[in-house]
């Protein structure tokens, strides 16, 4: 369970958000510039927060203006916008960099079908392949929480649909809390167990009853 209370002064408004995420996919939805990436960075420990508290399972990561756990120890997997793959390392070296167990990483590689790309470099693979590599790289660290920052925005429609299926399959198998940032409404309908709507620096939660099913082509 992730419990977040975060306050941060941004250039044009104050971010003051409170929300919880269980073993579900929570979609953080809002327009560009509403602070979504800031929230993810605050949870990951990559940006300073002014006040609040962040708890992940039994651990307090941040409280009363102080980071209590450094970035490296938060056990938060993060799939960045534009994927942030290491350009000087192959697909396998990217995945291997932070993986905890090789057998688990290989299982993910099979599941997400990147086995034929392991010796290639990021500039040699497609957008969808980069996205899958970045997802495997994040999950191979065996995080307690997964953060995804607009992971599908650069993909074409067909690749997006494949990626939605893969994310749902990954979540079905490994039930960790996931926060997905998007400003695409259809991704809310397709993927969210819960929606966190950003407005004026605050969040309104909405639990969804039904998720539109995508026929699994895998």
């Amino acid at each position: 369970m992730l419990t977040v209370h975060m306050e941060k002064q941004l250039s044009h408004f104050t971010l003051d958000v409170k929300f919880n995420v269980g073993r579900e996919i929570a979609v953080l939805f809002g327009p560009s510039g509403s602070g979504k990436t800031t929230i993810l960075n605050g949870i990951a420990g990559l940006t300073k927060i002014n006040d609040g508290e962040i708890r992940l399972n039994e651990r307090v990561l941040f409280r009363e203006g102080k980071s209590l756990v450094p970035v490296q120890e938060r056990k938060v997997g993060y799939l960045f916008q534009d994927y942030a793959l290491f350009p000087h390392k192959t697909v396998w070296e990217n995945i291997e960099y932070g993986m905890k167990q090789e057998s688990f990483a290989k299982k993910l590689i099979d599941k997400l079908q990147v086995g034929h790309l392991l010796t290639q470099y990021p500039h040699e693979i497609s957008g969808g392949e980069k996205q899958r590599t970045a997802l495997i790289r994040a999950i191979a660290t065996e995080p307690e929480l997964l953060l995804l920052d607009e992971p599908f925005s650069a993909l074409d429609e067909k690749t997006k649909n494949n990626s939605y299926e893969q994310l749902l399959a990954v979540h079905q198998e490994w039930h960790i809390p996931i926060i997905l940032v998007t400003h695409n409404k259809s991704e809310v309908e397709l993927l969210a167990d819960k929606v966190l709507y950003m407005k004026n620096g605050k969040i309104m939660e909405e639990k969804l009853q039904e998720k539109e099913k995508i026929s699994l082509k895998m």
Binding site: A44, V71, Q72, F80, D82, A84, A138, T141
Partner: protein, 226 residues
């Protein structure tokens, strides 16, 4: 042709070599911690770092004399505490080289650390790696082409330093006569053949340094766009 004393060659390579090592380590370190941060006074700090690029060498030399001269703030301290002198020694030539070549290294390193997405480092941190490990395995390799360019430029600049060296280290044959000083004083004393010899040496050193760097950069670009 007059017999050539090769001491200036060894002295130049020694002083430029030492100054390049110092400048590389300090330039890379400062560029890494400063370049991508935003803080009050950053532009002032960077203006100070880059100042020797735009100042006349005599101004740089004057400043160094003020600091390291026999009555200078640091010079006097070194003499009183350690009986150690900077002026009119080859150490002065090293310091002059460091001051004039540092801006080139800092600028190259600064650009090198800013040319890749910072999220690449953030990703490595979230994967459990220490900042030191992230620097060695991610930041340094990605910045290396730019760092190497800075290193070669800093070496070439250090090798060619004249004005500030003359003011701080002076011209003492077989002690502080780097190649540029040897050229100047050879011309002054009418030894044109000696001057020509050293001019060819330093042009060759500079030319082959730049040629090698261009070749290496082109090869590196080809390797990453295959």
């Amino acid at each position: 042709m007059e017999h050539i004393n090769f001491f200036p060659l060894w002295l130049s390579l020694k002083t430029a070599g030492i100054s390049t090592v110092v400048v590389f380590l300090s330039g890379v370190f400062l560029a890494y911690i400063i370049a991508r941060k935003v803080f009050v006074g950053k532009s002032v700090v960077e203006a100070i770092f880059l100042l020797p690029l735009v100042l006349p060498p005599t101004v740089v030399g004057f400043g160094l004399l003020y600091l390291f001269g026999k009555n200078g703030i640091i010079g006097k301290l070194l003499m009183d505490l350690f009986d150690f002198q900077i002026v009119f020694t080859w150490y002065g030539a090293v310091i002059a080289s460091i001051v004039v070549s540092f801006p080139l290294m800092y600028q190259s390193a600064s650009a090198a650390f800013q040319q890749y997405d910072k999220n690449i480092e953030n990703a490595a941190l979230t994967m459990g790696k220490s900042r030191w490990k992230v620097f060695w395995t991610i930041s340094f390799p990605l910045a290396w082409p730019g760092l190497l360019a800075g290193l070669v430029l800093a070496f070439a600049r250090g090798l060619g330093e004249f004005g500030a060296t003359l003011m701080l280290a002076g011209y003492i044959p077989n002690a502080t006569d780097t190649i540029p000083l040897a050229i100047y004083f050879a011309v002054e004393s009418g030894k044109m053949d000696v001057a020509k010899f050293w001019v060819m040496i330093i042009v060759a050193l500079g030319f082959f340094a730049i040629l090698w760097l261009n070749w290496w950069s082109a090869r590196n670009m080809m390797k990453h766009s295959r």
